[in-house]
């Protein structure tokens, strides 16, 4: 295993320490794997809490800050955080206006966040929850777990975060978060596996001429393994599934996220973006805004996912609102 680490069992703790050492604008709650805004509780706003296993960096801590999250909870690598950690995050930023938990649809995440909500409610904190299920690789109907949540999550953080920053109520913030989820679709592919530090070897085997299509963000294998393809063909596979699923129609305006899974050079993400934009144009879909970077990764996995969010006037306005987080910084006047 080739990693710049010390003890594989300590990676999450050391990472969080290294993170707050670098970024004074985020703070770690003492004794917990919870990061919060330095200026939390300063403002009368609904708070947004997100999280999941570690190994998806910069998610989720990288999205703490003005216009996005108030707190992020980290579990062990690819393991959803425990309820006590989530509860601590909720309490650490609670302003009395209620909290929205942004949860990706994995049994583990859903169950742990659910237990934390129950505890928080017993502590008198009003809680709402949205479940992100943007991955079109898995069909809803036949599988009772439904679809999993992947990189489209960033859009939900952005939309809900902007609404919360305006001082909206918990139900309003939840409404726009759910609206974003309803209009959001994603799909990913990978060229290589990743290696969980405490396991020490790659999660799956994959030949030099193969790729996995339709995979999640935890190093799990994809829905199918196929021969490696060109960027244009990869774009077509992903865009077709995404577009036909919602469906996105000619005339629709969308926000696009080209997300690197960890070790894919930015060069390749931009080449992929070119093909994706070409396909959107061909289908008459107007790309209103594009994000290209590593937003939600799977350790050192090579690959990418594409997310598309269909916009209406409200979502456009919220998307354009300023944000000031480690990773996503957008201009505009902040009102605090």
């Amino acid at each position: 295993m080739k990693k710049i680490i010390n003890d594989p069992e300590q990676v999450v703790d050391e990472m969080l320490t290294g993170m707050v050492m670098a970024h004074p604008e985020i703070v770690r709650v003492n004794g917990f794997n919870v990061l919060i805004r330095k200026e939390s509780k300063k403002k009368d706003k609904v708070t947004l809490i997100s999280g999941g296993g570690s190994g998806h960096e910069p998610a989720h801590g990288g999205f703490i800050g003005y216009g996005m999250l108030d707190a992020a909870v980290s579990g062990e690598v690819f393991t959803s955080p425990t309820p006590d950690q989530i509860l601590e995050a909720i309490k650490a930023v609670d302003t009395g206006k209620g909290s929205l938990l942004i949860v990706k649809n994995y049994s583990g995440d859903v169950m742990n966040f659910e237990m934390a909500s129950e505890m928080a409610e017993m502590d008198g904190i009003e809680i709402e929850q949205v479940i992100i299920n943007d991955d079109v690789a898995v069909e809803d109907s036949t599988y009772t777990t439904g679809r999993r949540g992947i990189a489209g999550t960033i859009f939900v953080h952005k939309i809900a975060g902007a609404m919360a920053e305006k001082g909206a109520s918990l139900s309003e913030v939840k409404r726009v978060a759910q609206k974003a989820i309803n209009n959001l679709r994603s799909k990913g592919m990978a060229l290589t596996s990743c290696t969980v530090p405490s396991v020490g070897k790659p999660t799956f085997e994959i030949a030099e001429d193969e790729m996995e299509v339709g995979l999640g963000i935890h190093g799990e294998p994809g829905v199918e393994k196929i021969k490696i393809k060109s960027a244009a063909e990869i774009a077509e596979n992903l865009v077709d599934s995404i577009v036909e699923d919602l469906p996105f129609k000619s005339g629709d305006e969308v926000a696009l996220l080209i997300n690197g899974l960890g070790s894919t050079p930015l060069m390749e993400l931009y080449i992929l973006n070119k093909s994706v934009q070409d396909l959107c144009r061909k289908r008459g879909i107007k790309v209103y805004k594009t994000y290209v970077d590593e937003y939600m990764t799977s350790l050192e996995m090579a690959g990418a996912s594409i997310s598309m969010l269909k916009l209406d006037d409200e979502l456009k306005e919220l998307l354009d609102e300023p944000a000031d987080t480690l990773v996503l910084k957008q201009g505009g006047k902040k009102d605090d």
Binding site: G75, T82, G108, M111, N112, S198, V199, E220, V223
Partner: protein, 212 residues
């Protein structure tokens, strides 16, 4: 008739902990195939914490011990298995509050309650390729008339039932948890949670048979 005192409970837990440590890689390997390669790591982390916690509750009733184990699992395992096993132990513990020793009826109730908790938390049905697949037939077996069976027969039978049910998850298509995202590709692999549940039942029976 089968009987289980507090020392035996403690021993079962310690043995489960060491079996989880021994099978850490095996369970993780299973989880690599259809999940995210952490089940063994999760279970080992959880039961290590449980063993550290035991001295604090050793002189409490079995109910408190089991509830404490459940809470410890919830707050250290994470993932899907944490809330599931955690809730199972908490429900099991609630069933035997105040007890210092369990008879067959207690044990039956305890297993039933554990399954109830598991299903309440995870909403899985038998056949979904989960922990539930191993535990359900064991609970069903406890419901049947056991009057003519010897202790050893009962203990051997629950282990073989658990083993068979665990093995039966192999051809199934997963409907719950991470493996469900693999659709057809989830077939042909044992479910990691079904296996860890079998390992627990095996340790339970071993201690009560006095062969552990």
């Amino acid at each position: 008739m089968i009987n289980c005192n507090k020392e035996q409970v403690i021993n079962i837990i310690k043995n489960i902990a060491s079996t989880m440590e021994k099978n850490k890689e095996y369970l993780t390997e299973l989880d690599s195939a259809i999940g995210d390669a952490d089940h063994g790591i999760n279970m080992n982390r959880g039961f290590k914490a449980v063993v550290e916690k035991l001295p604090e509750v050793e002189d409490k009733c079995i109910g408190t011990i089991l509830k404490t184990i459940g809470m410890t699992l919830v707050s250290t395992v994470g993932g899907a298995s944490g809330p599931l096993y955690g809730t199972a132990f908490m429900y099991a513990g609630r069933e035997v509050t105040g007890e210092k020793e369990l008879d067959l009826t207690d044990i039956k109730n305890l297993f039933r309650a554990a399954l109830e908790g598991l299903v309440k938390r995870g909403k899985a049905k038998p056949g979904d390729k989960t922990i539930v697949d191993t535990l359900t037939p064991v609970v069903d077996y406890f419901k049947s008339s056991l009057d003519e069976k010897t202790d050893n027969e009962i203990l051997e039978e629950i282990v073989s039932i658990a083993k068979e049910s665990m093995e039966a998850t192999k051809p199934l298509l997963a409907k719950k948890g991470r493996a469900s995202f693999l659709k057809e590709r989830s077939k042909g692999h044992l479910d990691p949670g079904a296996v860890s549940c079998y390992l627990m039942i095996k340790e339970f029976a071993a201690v009560l048979k006095g062969v552990a």
